[in-house]
């Protein structure tokens, strides 16, 4: 590492800040320098808020100097996915449609981060409106995987995961509708958590699929995600689907390092044929590590998971077709064709034609069709029934086991451009992550090694029952410790050096 401080975990940075060995401004500058040095290649960021970040860092330093009681993460920098509204800061959702839009308000997640003194460095790249698994659908160009710049960093939150893997930030916020936190974490060797639906407020999260979207913490370690989880989670009266219950003790769970007697279910349907061999090898090694730590492994069947992808690609586009209707050029964002001669309707059409990318249009059309009169029952209606069946599969499984596990994705990171012309192949990448969103439960992806055949990170997924997110932190923390002790160092420390400019 060129600059030691940036290679630390958020917990370590927090300790240094508290000890006074580094200031928030120094820490922020170190990351801004790193971004300047490597982001030309990685392209994790769409907008860097240098001024805002330094102002926040200064405020934290001043408070600390004044002896105020600060949150442990106060002064620690963070990368924010560009799908969350931040007052006065450009928020594009990776779309041309919102070019130049500066929200007049903060998302609740952002409010919570600011309250804790977390320093927001800037907004990270993503697939347009969070639709995609590679970040290639961004209107502002793809993000590259720091492990191999010719490969994708996952998606839709590829910017956030790449920022972590390239040490541009120790913390990031992602959003996960069908795997957009976990799949990027898996392919970049980082940790990503999708909390239980309703645990983190969606207020200010630009909606893709309202019943599936969930913001969550991303970092390089389980403990760091747990610390961030506790900052962003909590009941929000502005989000009617927010859960009105106290936030669990995620940090405590991540530090427990004890899973003796726990039952861990391996989902039969999520693995085996069609999975890259290196993925299966590392997954099985992780299972052995769990057994060594005292857990019991049980095979569990979830027969309805077979239909999850199909149901997802009806529900998510249906909701998206409605959620994205508001982008009509009347109130914000770009406007095309308004030369005084055209009707509002014509301007709306031209703006939407120019403003939306191919994948977004594909999903709007798909969703519009699925909701149409005469097709609703067959498509949207059936998909909702499958959703119920999937929930039942989980309920049945969680009677037998404490958590469920699977590979996060069937393969390691693929090449940029490899699947851009085959949407279904792209969709299949999310086969393991999607059932979680349909059921609204919590799930984490953490690295379980490098695939022998390509040397790229493999992700291990832990799924915990709704409202029991502590369990995945407990298992994840234990597994991470076991694997790191076998490797001798954290996986992220094995990432290749990036060229510094």
């Amino acid at each position: 590492m060129s600059t030691p401080i940036i290679s630390q975990t958020a917990a370590q940075m927090s300790a240094e800040l508290v000890a006074g060995s580094v200031t928030a401004v120094e820490l922020t500058n170190a990351h801004l320098d790193r971004i300047a040095a490597v982001d030309g290649d990685v392209h994790a960021f769409l907008h860097i808020d240098r001024e805002g970040a330094l102002a926040q860092a200064n405020a934290v330093d001043a408070s600390r100097k004044a002896g105020e009681k600060l949150h442990p993460l106060a002064g620690v920098p963070l990368a924010l996915k560009d799908v969350l509204a931040q007052k006065g800061v450009p928020t594009t959702c990776g779309s041309k449609m919102l070019e130049g839009w500066r929200p007049p308000y903060d998302a609740t997640v952002v409010t919570n981060l600011k309250k804790a003194g977390v320093v927001i460095l800037g907004k990270t790249n993503m697939d347009e409106f969070a639709m995609g698994s590679s970040t290639e659908n961004s209107a502002y160009g793809p993000t590259r995987n720091p492990w191999d710049l010719s490969r994708i960093p996952g998606g839709s939150g590829g910017g956030s995961s790449a920022a972590l893997a390239s040490f541009e930030a120790p913390l990031a916020i992602g959003t996960d509708t069908g795997g957009s936190i976990r799949q990027p974490a898996a392919v970049t060797g980082t940790v990503g958590v999708k909390p239980t639906y309703g645990a983190v407020s969606r207020y200010g999260l630009v909606a893709f699929s309202s019943s599936l979207d969930q913001a969550g913490p991303c970092a390089r370690t389980v403990l760091d995600t747990a610390m961030l989880h506790e900052v962003i989670a909590g009941y929000d009266p502005k989000d009617s689907t927010s859960i009105n219950a106290p936030v669990g003790k995620m940090v405590e769970a991540a530090k427990k390092l004890d899973i003796k007697g726990m039952k861990i279910g391996v989902v039969k349907e999520l693995g085996g044929e069609g999975y890259q061999s290196g993925v299966t090898i590392r997954f099985n090694e992780a299972l052995e590590a769990l057994v060594s730590a005292g857990a019991e492994i049980v095979e569990v069947s979830a027969p309805s998971f077979e239909y999850a992808l199909a149901a997802y690609y009806l529900i998510a586009p249906s909701e998206a077709s409605s959620n994205l209707a508001r982008f009509d050029s009347m109130r914000y964002g770009i406007r095309v064709g308004d030369d005084g001669s055209r009707s509002a309707e014509a301007v709306m059409n031209m703006t939407r034609e120019v403003g939306f990318g191919k994948e977004v249009k594909r999903r709007i059309i798909l969703g519009t069709y699925a909701l149409s009169s005469g097709y609703y029952d067959a498509y949207y209606g059936s998909a909702q029934k499958i959703r119920t069946l999937i929930k039942r599969d989980y309920d049945a499984a969680f009677v037998k086991v404490d958590v469920l596990v699977s590979p996060t994705c069937p393969t390691t990171a693929f090449k940029i451009g490899e699947k851009s012309n085959d949407p279904v192949a792209m969709y299949l990448n999310d086969v393991c992550t999607i059932p979680v969103n349909l059921a609204g439960i919590g799930s984490m992806s953490l690295p379980c090694g490098l695939a022998p055949e390509d040397g790229l990170p493999v992700g291990f997924q832990i799924m915990s029952p709704a409202m029991k997110d502590e369990l995945m932190y407990q298992v994840g923390g234990t597994l991470e410790a076991a694997l790191q002790s076998s490797w001798g160092k954290p996986l992220y420390a094995s990432a290749p050096e990036l060229a510094v400019k």
């Binding site: 969350l84 509204a85 308000y105 209707a325 109130r331 914000y332 309707e345 709306m348 949207y380």
Partner: protein
């Protein structure tokens, strides 16, 4: 030759259904905390939620739910134990999200009814209007089209958008087809909207001001030949912003449809806009191709599960029904059925009540409002209440009772108040309408009358009292109507030895 209403009714039978939108008078909007004041500067009562900014989320106004349930209870509806919001998807610039958060197949109240009474050729008749559903939704913003001749979008140079109204809670009350109205369809429509408005007012859930749009009525009308077994194609008339217009719109639409069918044309399924000036409807949006709103349950909101105990509490706390209240008033004032119906249908009960509350005798108050004032209002094609205040009428009635005005003079005072000459006292002053009650002044006129008709005077002296009329008339004429006729009579008879 165009058919008139009666001719149209001879050949065709009308079918009527009504949809009423009510703006609730909650302090804040349906899904955000913005104020709902009418007439504020454009776009000053907005926030990220009601502007539909990316990332914003709705939160239901609990007061709006309570008001909706109370409306349902007052309309004898069942309250759904589980109801949901749904998104109605369509694009329009004054709708910020390009979907309206509404209710679709799971409305909050269903299956109610409302009885309305109208005066028919066969006497008073009660019509039961079945309510299909009462559901909640949010209002849209307002478009102002600038540069066109008519304020319509066609021909306009540009449009201005005001989102102050966007997100104001609306309750939509939908009737089933109202059976058997036949030629009374216009009267039933009016009576229904009037009764509904009174109920809503008594509940205190809305300002129910039709002219401000806080109560809006859409009338669905179709006609079919008398021997037909099937219903005709319906039109939906919007923009009906007074009770009088409701009646006129239904009547006008029946006539229009009948004449179209007579001319061999078909009725187009469409929305139509009521024209206040002509009383006719103008073609609006075609509904020939059913619009697909792609309804689906609103994922940003939880279903509404109302506690049955709370519903019972609301039911018990409902105010007295207007129909019950009317019955009490009718008994207290001793008003015959037909006259009571006339007063209610003329929309004047509340006004008469207010006048009585200010001290006027009920019969007098009723007769002034339904008589002279209604006649003048009719001449001007306006509502009586827009001409004169109950307080002014009460004052005039009091002046008659104290003998300061005669009926004839009072009519002139009413006319003066309506013409904007000031309150009754000012009109009396300006017009010099004081009753001549000065005995000596009257005696001069009486003596003059006797002098001009000595034979009549003789007959009276001889005991022919009814003959006095001629002389009283002469005195009244001589005093320009400003004399108190009873006083004249008294003085005259006394003077001729008959007092």
């Amino acid at each position: 030759m165009a058919l008139n209403y009666d001719q149209a009714l001879e050949k065709y039978e009308p079918t009527l259904g009504l949809e009423v939108h009510v703006e609730l008078n909650t302090a804040s909007k349906m899904f955000c905390g913005c104020a709902t004041d009418f007439g504020a500067l454009p776009n000053t009562q907005t926030c990220p939620v009601c502007l539909g900014l990316p990332g914003s989320l709705p939160v239901v106004n609990a007061k709006a739910i309570e008001s909706s349930i109370r409306i349902g209870l007052a309309l004898n509806c069942s309250i759904a134990p589980f109801s949901r919001f749904a998104r109605k998807n369509y694009f329009y610039p004054d709708m910020p999200k390009n979907f309206q958060t509404s209710q679709y197949d799971e409305p909050i109240c269903i299956n109610g009814y409302l009885d309305v009474t109208i005066d028919t050729d066969e006497g008073l008749k009660v019509y039961r209007v079945d309510i299909e559903r009462v559901h909640m939704e949010e209002d849209t913003g307002k478009s102002l089209h600038v540069g066109g001749a008519t304020g319509r979008i066609h021909g306009a140079e540009h449009s201005l958008l005001d989102y102050n109204r966007a997100g104001i809670p609306l309750v939509e009350i939908v009737t089933r087809i109202i059976p058997g109205t036949d030629k009374y369809a216009p009267e039933v429509a009016r009576a229904y909207v009037a009764e509904l408005r009174d109920i809503l007012r008594s509940l205190g859930v809305s300002d129910v001001k039709m002219e401000q749009g806080s109560l809006r009525c859409d009338a669905n009308v179709s006609i079919a030949p008398r021997d037909s077994q099937t219903l005709g194609t319906r039109s939906e008339t919007k923009n009906v912003n007074s009770l009088r217009s409701v009646e006129r719109a239904v009547r006008g639409e029946i006539i229009r449809q009948a004449n179209r069918l007579e001319a061999g044309e078909r009725i187009i399924q469409e929305t139509r806009h009521f024209q206040e000036e002509s009383g006719e409807t103008r073609s609006g949006r075609s509904k020939e191709q059913a619009e697909d709103y792609r309804y689906f349950p609103e994922p940003d909101l939880l279903p509404i599960v109302a506690d049955p105990a709370w519903i019972e509490e609301l039911r018990l706390a409902l105010p007295e029904k207007p129909s019950v209240h009317r019955k009490k008033i009718q008994e207290a004032w001793g008003v015959p059925d037909k006259e009571m119906a006339a007063m209610v249908n003329a929309e004047l009960l509340t006004t008469v009540e207010e006048t009585v509350a200010l001290g006027a005798e009920p019969t007098k108050a009723r007769s002034w409002w339904l008589g002279e004032i209604s006649r003048l209002a009719n001449e001007k094609s306006v509502e009586p209440t827009s001409l004169i205040q109950p307080s002014e009428v009460a004052q005039i009635i009091a002046l008659i009772a104290s003998g300061e005005l005669t009926d004839k003079l009072a009519r002139q005072v009413v006319e003066g108040v309506i013409n904007g000459e000031g309150d009754p006292r000012m009109v009396i002053e300006k017009r010099g309408l004081k009753v001549v009650s000065d005995d000596s002044a009257l005696m001069v006129a009486i003596e003059a009358a006797i002098a001009s008709q000595p034979e009549t005077a003789e007959r009276i002296r001889g005991g022919n009292i009814p003959a006095a009329g001629a002389l009283i008339g002469a005195v009244m004429k001589a005093t320009g109507g400003q004399a108190d006729a009873a006083k004249v009579r008294e003085l005259l008879l006394k003077h001729l030895g008959q007092g």
